[in-house]
Structures are given as C-alpha cells and as structure tokens.
Amino acid sequence: MTSSSTTAEPERSGTILSRFNNSRNALGIIFMLPAAIFLIGFLTYPLGLGVWLGFTDTRIGRAGDFIGLENYAYLMDDQVFWLSVFNTVVYTVIASILKFVLGLWLALILNEKLPYKSFFRAIVLLPWVVPTVLSALAFWWIYDAQFSILSWSLMKLGLIDTPINFLGDPLNARLSVIAANVWRGIPFVAISLLAGLQTIPVSLQEAASLDGATPWKRFRYVTLPMLTPIIAVVMTFSVLFTFTDFQLIYVLTKGGPVNATHLMATLSFQRGIPGGQLGEGAAIAVSMIPFLLAAILFSFFGLQRRKWQQGGQD
C-alpha cells in the first residue's frame, strides 16, 4: 500500500472533526492565528484607522465626518507642511549618506585584525542600544545654548568667543539634529555591513592580491560588488528609520526654530495630538507613505538580487 492511499483513506470515511484534525490547511491556520491576530490588532488596524482618519475632520473629543480629500487639499497649500517635507527629505538624504559612508568605513576598520577587536565591536553598538530618548537628552545638553560642552571646549581652546547657538539657528539646528541622528544610526549600518564583510571569503581577497590588485582595487572590484546586496538591505532600513524619525527631533527641538527642523512625523504629531486636529495629523502621516514606498521600490528594483547571486543553470 502506498503512502498516498493510506492518507486518503480516513479523509473519505471520517467525520467532520477528524477531517479537520487531519487537514494540513486547518492546522496551518491555527498555527498562524496568534501572529495574524497580533498583526491585525497592532499593525493593520492602526494603519487602517490612520488612513481613515485622514479622510475625516475628526478632532480630539469629537467624532469626525468623512470629508474626502479636504485635508489633503488643505495641506497642498500649507507652507509649513511643505517645509516639513523639505526638511524630512534633506534630513533623510544627508543623514543616510553620512551613515553609509561612516558606517562602511567603521565596518572596514573593524574587519581588520585589531587588538581588542570584540571590545571595539561592542563599544560601537553602544549608541544603538541606548534608548533614543536618553541619547537625545544627552545631545540636548551637548547642544545647550549656555552649558554646551562643545561650546565650552572651543571657547577654552580660544577658537570661539561666544557659545554656539546650536538649536536656535535654523541651519545650526538642522545640522545638529542630523549629527545626532548620524551618531545614533552608524552602529546599525556598521555592524550590519561588518556582518556582510565577514561573509566574503578571505581567499577572494588573497586571490585578488595575487592577481595584482592594490588594496583600493580589492575594495573597488571585490569587496564593494560583493557587499552591494547587504548595502541595499541595510540602507533601505536606514532610510526608512531616518525618514520616520520622531523621538530625536521631539526631544531636541520639537520642530523649532520656526519649524526649521519639523519633520513630517513630528508635524503630524504636533497637529494631531497637541493641536487636536486628528484628521489633519493623520493626513500628514499618510502623506509619508508614498515616499516610503518609493524608497522600498527603489531598493527592490534598483538593488535586487543580481544575476550572479542566482544559482542553478541559466
């Protein structure tokens, strides 16, 4: 008797219960249920509610009515909204580029044979494991108008006469929050890329050096091409994290001065919760979705698995 006929037997003759017990699909659904409930309850529902709120004029304390695209039409003419879009894009682009360059550099250093290598690797992770609010508070002090340690040091060195107005000047404030974000984001990039570097066999580097490649050419022709798939994934995540950043800005500047550091996320919160305009806040948050989708699609199509990674016959 073959195995297929033995499994078919009880299905034909069994009760509904035994058929259910023997069904792989039913079992699969049962096993997936907890995760599905979790996803629906904590991801799909809030997302759906957010999208729905964006089409209503809901305020705190008052159920809203459906008003179609009115919120979006209003935002189209809102200078502050467009400023926040500009800020978010600038913040994301500059911070991501800096995180990539510095993170890759750090990863390459950590991949060399260094004394106390594991110690340094652990240290590098520190900015990432510290809660964002905590490091943001630390930066708040570093950037303080009066007590900034940076200003103090530079003044003691005689390089400047008055404290630097880190968070009070629009340009300084933007640079300051970007610097804080970069500091916090480097470990993720560096450690992920380090993991990627360690998957490149040493013999490839050796073969390249026997083939006459200088260290720079080894990086350019061997390391970098082999690292691109990981760079794509890491930078997609990094861009998403940066684009949706909220905590750092909210602790450091709350969007000021004069909205110069307002990101879409902070503006959405500002309008929605303290401002009470839940509908408008939701609309701002929903406006982030196209940008995020664009980032994901860019990495998906632009940096998807290369031909050389695909196995098997052609």
């Binding site: 050796e206 073969a207 026997l210 006459g212 490649a213 022709y221 050389w308 196995g311 052609d314």
Partner: protein, 353 residues
C-alpha cells in the same frame, strides 16, 4: 618560468613553530608536489611562497630573487585555491581576465589572452557564465584558466582537487599534468593525497610535522623510503610493517615477535635484540607451496587485483595478488617474500638501515 628555492625556511605562529627549517630546490619547469598529512605545514609553506604568510626566518627565492618582503602581486605567481576563490560577481571571462585588468592591460589585450586560454581548457562556451552556474570541474578549470592567462613564473596549487568527486579527480589529474607538459611552467602543488603526488609529480617533497622527510622522484620514494614515515605514507595499500629483531644465529633472518622467520636479501648489521621493523610492500609476495604459512582474514577482490588480509607472524598483512585467487577466511596461504624488495628500519629512530 623560474627556479624556486627554499633556504632554511622557518615559520612560527606566536610561539608555535609550524615550519622547522625547510630546504627545497625546485628547478625551472619542474612539477613539484608537497605532500604530507594535515597540519604538516605544506599549505603554510605554499602560502609563504605566494606571499600570503610572513616568513619567520630563512629565505625564499624565485628566479634567484629573494622574495621574503615582496608583496604577492610583485612575485609574478598564480595560485589555484582549494575552494577556487572565483569572484562570484564576475563572469568566467572576467574572472580569467581580472589579473590582466589589474595590471592595466586594455580590453582588447585581455580578450586576446583569455580566448586561447579558454580554448586550452574547453571553456569557450562558458565565458559568459557566472561561477554559480558552473559544475565543480568547470570551476576548477576556470581557476586554472585564471592562472594561465597571466603566464606567470610559477604556478601554485593548494589542494585543488579535494573538492571534486573521485572520478573527476582522476580526470583533472590528467588535465593538470597535460597542462604542465604543454606550458612547462614551474609548478608547486600541495596535496595530502599521495596518489596525486605519485601520479603527477616530477619530484615529491614529503613533509611531516614542519620538516621535510624526504625529497625525490615518485618511484625513488616508493622504492627507497628513507624512514618509516615516508614508507608508511607513500604507497597504497600502505607498506606492511612488522616488528621484530635480527636472528642472533643468522643475520639474514628477521624474527617477528612470535618467532616467525622472515627472509632478508642481505645480512643486516644490527645489535642483538635491537628493535627493528620489517617493511614489506603488499605486492612483493607470491604464492609458493613451500612458503611461509599465513592465515587468511579477509579477501577484497577488486577485479584487477585481489587484496588479501592475512595473519602472519602475529600481525595482519595486506597482500596484493594480480591473479584472481579463491581463498576463504581461515584458509592457509603459503607465500614467498621477494626479499630483495624488503626494507628494514630502526624502530627507535625510524631510519632505514
């Protein structure tokens, strides 16, 4: 093409000596195989020649130039790695042309060199493929192709066949040997497989525990092993080694532990009762109705020959017969030993007497 010399080469990792003073002369165009068990230092020696490991002491010369401090790319050598080390993101053609690209040769020049090399190795149809799309043997050929397009002074092979299946290994053995006969480039080849060493080398260097045990042509090593290690390492099935002493009454008789007398071709000058080893290759026996009795333990017919494991003088010996014989476990075989081919070693020093 260039000669290669190792002069009193030493290597330590920290306080641990790995290579303990190695001298090897490799003539121009010679195919030399470094062979030895795992951990004997043969791969380290090759990597030192390639410039991938530092030299602790001594000198390595390629074409007369001392290369101790020279970076790998200036040594003009090409290496085939055990895992082939093909660049996975480059096609076969790009892999083979990489060294030329690195040395600033224009595209047309690269193409002109890659093509003939691909033809030699039968890779012409695969030039646009990526390493992932190739079989093990094809990857092996690409790795060799990458080495030959450079036309280097020396080829280095680091256990190149150990990732291939048995059949392909035999085939690639022939191809590598053919390639060497065609290009006549000095070749240093590392393997732990003594069959590869015996079949391919002009000269074999047997290494053990960081030192060179013996250097010589394959059949010289087979016929005249200097010591017990070489005797046991070279040859398959391995040489039979029987412990015993010289008979006090007759220096042409070797007495095993249980008193069985084995013949020697010439008298051996050894102190009375000195522990010796009687080395007998499996094929140096023949049937003889008046010979020494041995009890059959197992027979292994392989078609071309028959292996018989037989108990004689207290130890199990492997015997090879080219005729098909029908014996069963427990039967008694009578054999005669070709005493001219017998080796005698000193048990304590391992040296041949």
């Amino acid at each position: 093409m260039a000669p290669v010399e190792f002069v009193k080469v030493r290597k330590s990792f920290g306080a641990t000596p790995i290579i303990k003073g190695v001298d090897i002369d490799i003539a121009d165009g010679e195919f030399v195989i470094l062979v030895g068990p795992s951990g004997c230092g043969k791969s380290t020696l090759l990597r030192m020649l390639a410039g991938l490991e530092n030299i602790t002491a001594g000198e390595i010369r390629i074409g007369g130039r001392v290369v101790n401090k020279m970076p790998p790319k200036e040594r003009d050598i090409a290496m085939v790695f055990q895992n082939y080390a093909l660049y996975p993101h480059m096609t076969v053609a790009e892999n083979m042309g990489f060294s030329l690209l690195m040395n600033g040769i224009p595209k047309s020049g690269i193409e002109a060199k890659v093509r003939p090399a691909a033809e030699i190795l039968g890779l012409t149809n695969l030039l646009d493929r990526y390493p992932r799309q190739l079989s093990g043997g094809q990857r092996q050929r690409v790795a060799m192709g990458r080495a030959i397009v450079r036309n280097p002074q020396v080829f280095l092979f680091d256990e190149p066949l150990s990732n291939l299946d048995a059949k392909l290994r035999v085939q690639m053995r022939v191809e590598i040997k053919e390639l060497h006969q065609r290009l006549k480039t000095t070749t240093v080849y590392v393997t732990h497989d003594q069959i590869e060493a015996m079949t391919m080398a002009d000269k074999i260097v047997v290494m053990h525990d960081g030192i060179v045990e013996q250097v010589g042509a394959p059949l010289d090593l087979y016929d005249r092993p200097n010591n017990l290690f070489v005797a046991g390492f070279i040859g398959s099935p391995a040489m039979n080694m029987i412990d015993g002493t010289i008979s006090p009454s007759d220096p042409k008789v070797f007495l095993t532990g249980d008193g069985t007398a084995l013949p020697l071709a010439k008298p051996v000058d050894a102190a009375n009762g000195k522990a010796l080893v009687y080395g007998l290759r499996p094929e140096h026996v023949r049937f003889d109705p008046n010979g020494i009795p041995a009890t059959v333990v197992v027979t292994e017919p392989t078609g071309a020959e028959t292996l018989v494991i037989a108990r004689l003088g207290g130890s199990d010996l492997t015997l090879v017969f080219h005729e098909r014989i029908l014996v069963n476990p427990g039967d008694t075989l009578r054999i005669a030993i070709n005493e001219a081919a017998v080796h005698v070693f000193d048990r304590a020093t391992g040296q041949r007497l």
